[in-house]
């Protein structure tokens, strides 16, 4: 931090340099809002035909030296129509600006903003106006389905995170998560221990806009972290000149499971056992007399409430916004609960006639999680339905338990699902604070030049405990007393310093905007854990810490020629401590050209047409581990010691390393066409992209004997994504009382691995991935050359004439007369071929109806619930317990599991309506001002799919008893006054 402060002082000296004042005559005046009469602070005043001018102060006043012969002033203010006024003889010139239509939509890009119409890259913005409505807990839910090329798979647990993929993943082993930048702070999106979703730090109600940078010409300014796209989140600010405005938003929701896994009920189960096993078979004696629906025992109505209060306005020169939020969400899985309190404060004062603008953000989050044991989900599907939940004679908390002859729990049988939920408490407390301050100074002597300093601090801390009593069957140990008493904690402290200079000027018909800067970021974590049984006999404890530095120099040049042709070039040089001095620096260039073929004022049908072509190189440095290049040794735990004589010696292990590891590089080519019809009532774009990743980090076998491990992360592969995106936003109806808006986007992406090994061995099978339930270590997917990542690797099932699969019979695909691993083939993959997002909004008088949905085509799912539970061998286990089976057993009829049959690779294409929200707004509830909106939402009302499991939307494509998505009814109010 010391260094940050020094830099800050240095900067202050620069900006306080004296301004040189010239001129013959001084004009003064006051700029106000035409409607409210409030002063406009920071409005731009330029002398017509020149680049000299000034900015209004916090009272809306300005003072400007005007040379002889100047005839006009051009006054502009973000969100207002610019106005050109004639200079008269008077020395005082007051001007009123009308808000009127938004002339220029400004888009946040990295280290600056650009007018939307001047953007050259693939940049898309979603703001408060078109956010998803309904049951929103995590910020990413606002965005789901809104932007072509962005796929968001939300998890179902309360407060849970999401997997966000922009234009398919560009990596296999390294992270595929986009970089997320919150109010200018690139954040660590790894999350802290005990946290369900790192983005929970932001209350969705505080977000003003999401800007998604998709192609490299837009993202390359973020260099080595930009390969998977960048999401810029901007939070709301106060507005100067506004009186205090108060907003309250509150809602309450009720969630229920939609459906259960179709297993046999108790009667069906009893008759199957009786039919299958001969009289006297031990299974018969095990059958119980109850009728237990285990799934209904573990789920319940999840009640959620969410309250947000925000105050905003301006005090003197200081616009402020303060918000508080509270969320309490219970999951449908009993005992699962998420409680969050958020607070955010934004101050954005301007000084020195607004040449010095300061923006301070404080965001804080406190969450308490109670994690339900999700093992109960699989256990409920598997548990014998003829057994009771409770058994008064059971020493295991009174829960029915499968036992051995000596009365100890059977260690192979599933634990009682309700006991899993009820016996034990798994809790965490998580806090995260993101603080940053930007100081933006426009030099008095050279108003075209501005310096920007951004200091950020991201702190998070998670602490958790997991306690299970010794009498829980699943933590039983007669020798030690059993039970679980675990604690853990993790702290992350990430610091940021960024500084850039920006010069923008107009030379005739050429506009030039140059930016250059420096970035320093440090990531630090330390964590510890203590795992023990209750008596403290079996103890594992450990501490870990690490730090990572990222340093960068970056620059951007924007040139606009004749207001028609826009050229952007960026360059970033990134260094990371993750790699060795020889490989740690990377250069990431990008360039884009846009041609405004038809611009704005175009009359006729086609009102806007812009062609964009971009190229850029980005990197991915998040390859896991902080010191993979460094030879180092690792101490072992106490429970992995080795006995020499009577002493147990703690071991030290030399670690495998790749001295040459470096970033992955993705080269992106993008061509896009933005269009607008009918005075931009219909807008949208169509884009094609090609993304080639080289030096792909793959977790590959090292030549045996050459390293201190057998697999290592190293740069050996190539990967390609290409796709087409299309989006359209239309306002089919636009009348005073009736507006209908429609947004639709579609994305087709194709992913292919083009190289995986250093030697290009054609016999090389690939990297097995996609672990499944059933057996140990079984996998169903593979990364192999010539195929999409995570393709399913299966045998081709042979079917009988009646259409049912024949057990254990597969097609001899290579025709060698035997079925071996060589007969496996690659079939489909979990990523959709095409996915769609649809949003529509209808406003009629005070009613507003909105709905949003998504569809996905060609995403395949391995139905692991079926493959692992629809065979009859599992009914009875020789250690004397019973297991339920999937109802499909009647159809499939397998005796033994056939995990690798392609019968279980199923088309997961789906159409899902995410929400329908209906609201009514009461205006002017307090005499002249204030409004009250009441709304109701039905979340997740419709799912159309042919997939036979519960839900085809499974990230990764392996459906193995995932937390089921619920259907929610939500009621809320939103009050403004």
């Amino acid at each position: 931090m010391k260094r940050l402060i020094k830099t800050f002082i240095l900067l202050s000296v620069i900006v306080l340099g004296p301004a040189i004042l010239l001129g013959q005559r001084t004009l003064t005046g006051n700029i106000t809002d035409a409607e409210s009469g409030e002063p406009l602070i920071g409005a731009n005043i330029l002398i017509g035909g020149t680049s000299s001018g000034t900015i209004t102060d916090f009272d809306g006043n300005y003072s400007l030296e005007v040379p002889e012969g100047s005839s006009t002033l051009v006054i502009s203010y973000t969100g207002y129509s610019s106005l050109e006024v004639e200079i008269t003889a008077a020395n005082v010139l007051d001007v009123q600006l009308s808000a009127g239509e938004l002339l220029e939509e400004v888009v946040v890009i990295g280290y600056g903003t650009v007018k939307k119409e001047d953007a050259t890259g693939s940049v898309q913005t979603v703001n408060t106006k078109n956010f998803n409505k309904g049951a929103i807990t995590g910020p990413q839910e606002l965005l789901s389905g809104k932007i072509a090329g962005v796929q968001i798979t939300n998890s179902a647990d309360p407060g849970g995170g999401a997997v966000i993929r922009i234009r398919g993943g560009s990596s296999l082993s390294a992270s595929n998560d986009p970089l997320i930048v919150i109010d200018g702070v690139p954040v660590d999106n790894g999350g802290v221990s005990g946290s369900r979703n790192p983005l929970n730090v932001i209350n969705p109600n505080d977000i003003e806009t999401f800007t998604v940078l998709k192609d490299a010409s837009a993202t390359a300014i973020y260099g080595s972290r930009a390969s998977n796209g960048v999401i810029l989140i901007t939070t709301k600010k106060g507005k100067l000149g506004k009186k205090i405005s108060v907003n309250y938003n509150g809602n309450v929701g009720f969630s229920n499971p939609i459906d259960n896994v179709d297993v046999l009920n108790a009667d069906e189960y009893r008759s199957l056992i009786n039919e299958r096993f001969a009289e006297g078979h031990p299974s018969k004696a095990l059958l119980g007399s109850e009728n237990t629906d285990w799934q209904s025992e573990i789920y319940e109505t999840g009640i959620a409430q969410d309250h947000n209060l925000s105050l905003s306005g301006g005090i003197g020169v200081v616009p402020y916004r303060l918000s508080l939020g509270f969320t309490d969400k219970k999951g449908i899985l009993r005992t699962d609960r998420f409680e969050r309190t958020t607070a955010a404060l934004n101050l954005s004062p301007g000084f020195l006639e607004n040449r010095l603008q300061i923006n301070v953000n404080l965001k804080g989050m406190f969450t308490n999680n109670t994690f339900a044991n999700q093992g109960a989900i699989g256990s409920a599907v598997a548990f014998d339905p003829t057994q009771p939940v409770l058994d008064a004679s059971s020493p295991y908390g009174g829960f029915y338990t499968w036992t051995q002859a000596n009365g100890d729990p059977n260690t192979l049988s599933p634990a009682n699902p309700v006991a899993l939920l009820e016996m034990g408490k798994n809790r965490s407390d998580v806090q995260r604070f993101i603080t940053n301050a930007t100081v933006d100074y426009r030099f008095a002597f050279l108003p075209e030049l501005r310096a920007n300093l951004n200091l950020g601090y991201d702190y998070s801390k998670g602490e958790g405990t997991n306690d299970v009593p010794g009498n829980a069957s699943f933590a039983y140990n007669s020798a030690t007393g059993g039970g679980v008493k675990n604690t853990y904690s993790q702290e992350k402290r990430n610091e940021l310093l960024e500084f850039y200079l920006n010069y923008a000027n107009v030379f005739g018909s050429t506009k030039i905007d140059v930016m250059g800067g420096y970035s320093w970021q440090r990531f630090f974590f330390e964590d510890s854990f203590f795992n023990s049984d209750i008596a403290g006999i079996q103890v594992t404890e450990g501490e870990n810490s690490g730090e990572l530095y990222l340093l960068s120099l970056f620059g951007r040049l924007n040139v606009t020629l004749m207001d028609k042709v826009l050229i952007t070039a960026t360059l970033r040089r990134d260094g990371t401590s993750r790699f060795s001095p020889d490989t740690r620096w990377g250069l990431f260039p990008a360039a884009a050209v846009a041609w405004k073929m038809i611009d704005g004022n175009g009359t006729g049908t086609l009102s806007n047409l812009k062609l964009r072509v971009g190229y850029g190189v980005t990197g991915q440095q998040d390859v896991g581990g902080f010191y993979q290049y460094l030879p180092r040794y690792l101490s072992g735990f106490e429970n992995a010691r080795y006995q020499f004589g009577n002493e147990f010696v703690t071991t030290i292990r030399p670690e495998g390393y790749d001295a040459n590891i470096k970033w992955e590089e993705t080269t992106t080519y993008n061509i896009g066409l933005d269009y607008g019809f009918l005075d931009d009532r219909i807008t949208g774009s169509i884009e094609y992209y090609l993304r080639e990743t080289k030096d792909l980090i793959n977790f590959v076998p090292v030549p045996a004997g050459t390293n201190l491990t057998n697999f290592i992360n190293t740069n050996v592969g190539d990967l390609e994504n290409k796709g087409v995106e299309f989006s359209i936003n239309a306002i089919p109806v636009r009348k005073t009382d009736f507006v209908w808006e429609l947004g639709f986007n579609v994305t087709a992406n194709e992913n292919k691995i083009t190289r995986l090994t250093a030697t290009d061995d054609p016999e090389y099978l690939g990297v097995l991935t996609g672990g499944i339930s059933g057996g140990v270590g079984n996998t169903i997917q593979i990364h192999s050359v010539g195929h999409p990542a995570n393709s399913f690797l299966v045998y081709e099932q042979v079917y009988a004439e009646n259409g049912l699969p024949i057990e254990g019979l597969y097609v001899d695909r290579n025709g060698d007369g035997q079925i071996t691993a060589d007969d496996q083939y690659r079939l489909n993959n979990p990523a959709p071929d095409v996915f769609f997002g649809l949003t529509t909004n209808v406003t009629y008088k005070n009613f507003d109806l909105s709905l949003a949905g998504r569809a996905s085509i060609g995403n395949y799912v391995y139905n692991n619930v079926q493959s692992d539970q629809a065979f009859s061998d599992r009914l009875f286990h020789p250690t004397l317990y019973l297991l339920n089976v999937h109802s499909d057993i009647n159809e499939i009829g397998f005796e033994t599991p056939e995990y690798f049959s392609d019968h279980f690779i199923q088309d997961g294409s789906f159409l899902r309506l995410d929400h329908i929200t209906l609201s009514y707004t009461f205006n002017e509830i307090f005499k002249k001002s204030g409004s009250l909106r009441v709304y109701g939402t039905l979340q997740n009302p419709i799912l159309v799919t042919n997939y036979s499991g519960l839900d085809p939307e499974v990230f990764g494509g392996i459906d193995s008893n995932i937390y089921p998505r619920s259907r929610t009814i939500l009621f809320g109010v939103n009050a403004n006054f």
Partner: protein, 712 residues
């Protein structure tokens, strides 16, 4: 601002993570890194039982060294099957694995992981480096021995590579860590390397039995050399049986002792055994893994076996054996009978019922009867009365019954009840015509040259009411015995004709060999008969048979195939190990009995040595197994087939079987079939190329210099 760029030069700040430049600043590190070289055989990562894994690409438990070794040495053979559905695991027994097999890859990776670790250790402990760090004095000489142990461990892993994969990549401490393609070494050259390495370190290692428990010494080295030589013909085409015998002899002469009880070698407290030459150490609190003996024990328990008997929390129900191993033992019945009793009751003699309080005064009950062997009026038999009481004789009903008459030994029809004053086994003779009877109390004993008292004093037998038999278990010498009553010859039985029917004063009964025997005498009525059984025949037949089928119809079913109870997490005194979830039991990688059998085999195969000594060594092993000399063999019995079977009996599940079968040419292409060999219930011939595992395709891809083994 440029100073900021130096921030990139970070080093680990975690105390557990040390750069290699700094690790040896602590003198203890030499021993701790050495401990990792050993621990590489025992645990799967730096956190027990899983976490911070050493190798990847495999479930961490599967990738543990011993578990992978066990899979490769046992599952493809007649000694073990596994019922699980883990990946390709069933391919082992079917012998149809391929080069993509993850388990094979794991074993190969483990072997080379060990080799790489040892190489790193050798690089970091060169004289130059030690000088540079100022290491001298005791530490210097300790490190010198540590280095030799590292070379031993490297040779051990190379030996496993040699045995399983043949021609493998070759790396030594000369090769630094980094991206390069190691050369492939031929099997014969690798053999020479291992031999030369072991010879080179022989004098540096500590003398046999003088190192700390768990660490290698000359005994371990000799054992490894003996194994190398014994299999030399397989590895190089040239036999080295003389050397095999020589190094086995060195081990034998080093003072190791056979553990008295065979089963104690595989128990939680086996770390005290003087038979173990080189163990892999495990501990239920300090050395945790899901592989190792923890796997061997857990996986073998299932069905109706009681996990508590094995000191574990619950079985994993996976591994059993085939009938081929079971059938190598003469019989599994604990009471293997030398002489089986004849069913005396089946003889069609006329009977006289004895009714009394002891059987509810039922004149028709045949529970207690006398019999007339000549079908006349003279009846004889023995009656056991648990307490004093009254009785009468009857002919199937009360119409004809006899009680006491006038005077001693006189019977009268319908007379008063007879009685005895005390409990006991009474010999009763009745003449229903002559109306006489005798009731004589008898106490029985065993006498003869085989018994401790010789022909002079008998050894008492005990009456077992439930079996209606007199019984005795004792150690007998080869010789003769007879049964006699009341320490006198008046009533004595022998077996004329050796037909298991006893005759009064009959011929002596032959006891064929020394041993512990159980003899039972069945006297309730004629014909009188007896049994002689060996209570424990071969104590190495450690199987659980209850609820298990001998033959396997479905390998997935745990209850098919006998379970093997050899390894336990219970101490020799019956106490469970320190944690039920993780075993304390050490794995005896090398032990003395193996050295005896190797010597015998090497000599039999033509190595210099003494055949009588070989027989003597084999008999030492068998004597321990039988508890006596009853299992001893003669020189004529010592054949290679016998040795192979004897190795199965002695060393089953100890990771020797695959190597043994290959050395005897019985693994793949021979006519030796066992259940489910080749994936067929009755067993099928498999290709000879199965004698080597394939080089994993992962390494073929990673290293273009490698050539695949033939047949893959």
């Amino acid at each position: 601002m440029t100073s900021c760029f130096n921030d990139l030069d970070t080093v680990p700040i975690d105390e557990d993570e040390i750069t290699s430049a700094k690790v040896y600043e602590d003198p203890n590190a030499y021993r701790q890194v050495l401990a990792k070289l050993y621990a590489g055989l025992a645990v799967s990562g730096q956190q027990g039982p899983s976490g911070q894994a050493d190798i990847a690409g495999i479930d961490e438990g599967f990738g543990q060294y011993l578990r992978a070794y066990w899979y490769h040495q046992e599952l493809p053979t007649d000694e073990a099957v596994i019922g699980w559905n883990d990946q390709t695991i069933k391919d082992f027994h079917d012998q149809d694995w391929d080069a993509n097999d993850v388990f094979i890859n794991a074993y190969y990776s483990r072997i080379f992981y060990q080799i790489s670790l040892c190489n790193e250790y050798l690089r970091e402990t060169t004289d130059e480096k030690l000088d540079g760090r100022g290491v001298d004095g005791t530490l210097r000489s300790d490190v010198n021995v540590f280095r030799a142990e590292a070379r031993f461990l490297r040779a051990l892993s190379y030996y496993h590579a040699l045995d399983a994969f043949g021609n493998v990549p070759f790396v030594t401490e000369e090769d630094a860590v980094g991206a390069f393609f190691p050369e492939q070494i031929s099997r014969a050259d690798l053999y020479n390397f291992i031999e030369a390495e072991l010879k080179a370190i022989e004098s540096i290692l500590l003398p046999a039995r003088s190192n700390e428990y768990g660490r290698a010494d000359q005994g371990a080295l000799w054992m490894l050399l003996a194994k190398l030589y014994l299999n030399a013909e397989v590895y190089t085409g040239n036999a080295a049986y003389t050397e095999a015998a020589e190094y086995s002899e060195k081990v034998i002469g080093a003072g190791y002792k056979l553990e008295e009880e065979f089963s104690h070698l595989f128990m939680a407290d086996n770390d005290g055994s003087e038979e173990i030459i080189f163990p892999i150490n495990f501990d239920g609190v300090n050395t945790l893994t899901f592989g190792g003996t923890n796997f061997i024990i857990h996986a073998a328990v299932g069905g109706n076996m009681n996990p508590a008997d094995f000191g574990i929390d619950g079985g994993w129900g996976g591994t059993r054996t085939t009938s081929a191993l079971v059938n190598k033992f003469p019989s599994l019945d604990a009471n293997t009978e030398v002489v089986a009793p004849v069913d005396g009751n089946s003889a069609n003699y006329s009977l006289l019922n004895i009714a009394g309080a002891h059987q509810g005064w039922d004149p028709a009950s045949e529970a207690t009867v006398l019999a007339s062997v000549n079908n006349d009026s003279n009846y004889e038999g023995y009656l056991y009365l648990a307490e004093a009481g009254e009785f009468k004789f009857a002919l199937g009903g009360w119409e004809n019954n006899w009680g006491t008459g006038d005077g001693d030994g006189v019977l009268s029809k319908g007379g008063d009840n007879l009685s005895v004053a005390e409990p006991g086994l009474y010999k009763i003779n009745v003449d229903t015509s002559g109306l006489t009877y005798t009731v004589q109390k008898t106490e029985w004993g065993l006498i003869g040259s085989s018994t401790p008292g010789g022909w002079d004093a008998d050894t008492d037998m005990t009456y077992i009411p439930d079996e209606n038999a007199l019984s005795i278990t004792l150690e007998l010498l080869a010789g003769e015995v007879k049964f006699r009553a009341n320490d006198a010859w008046d009533i004595n039985y022998g077996d004329t004709g050796a037909d298991a029917i006893l005759e009064l004063g009959g011929d002596n009964i032959i006891i064929p060999s020394d041993g512990v025997y159980t003899l039972k005498l069945f006297l309730d009525r004629p014909d009188y008969t007896y049994s002689i059984a060996r209570p424990s025949f071969d104590s190495r037949a450690l199987f659980h048979t209850d609820g298990q089928e001998l033959e396997i119809a479905d390998i997935s079913q745990f209850t098919e195939g006998y379970a093997v109870t050899k390894f336990k997490n219970v101490t020799s005194t019956g106490v469970a190990g320190s944690d039920l979830r993780y075993a304390d039991t050490d794995f005896p990688m090398f032990r003395l009995a193996d050295a005896y059998l190797m010597y015998a085999e090497a000599v039999l195969r033509g190595g210099s040595g003494s055949i009588p000594t070989a027989v003597e060594y084999v008999n030492l092993v068998r004597n321990r197994a039988y508890g006596d000399g009853s299992g001893n063999i003669q020189q004529a019995d010592l054949s290679l087939d016998f040795i192979l079977d004897e190795r199965a009996r002695e060393l089953a599940w100890e990771c020797h079987r695959r190597t043994d079968l290959i050395r005897f040419n019985r693994f793949s292409n021979s006519d030796y079939l066992w259940p489910w060999k080749g994936g067929v219930a009755e067993g099928a011939v498999t290709a000879e190329t199965r004698n080597l595992f394939p080089i994993p395709s992962n390494d073929i891809s990673a290293n273009p210099k490698l050539k695949q083994n033939p047949g893959y």
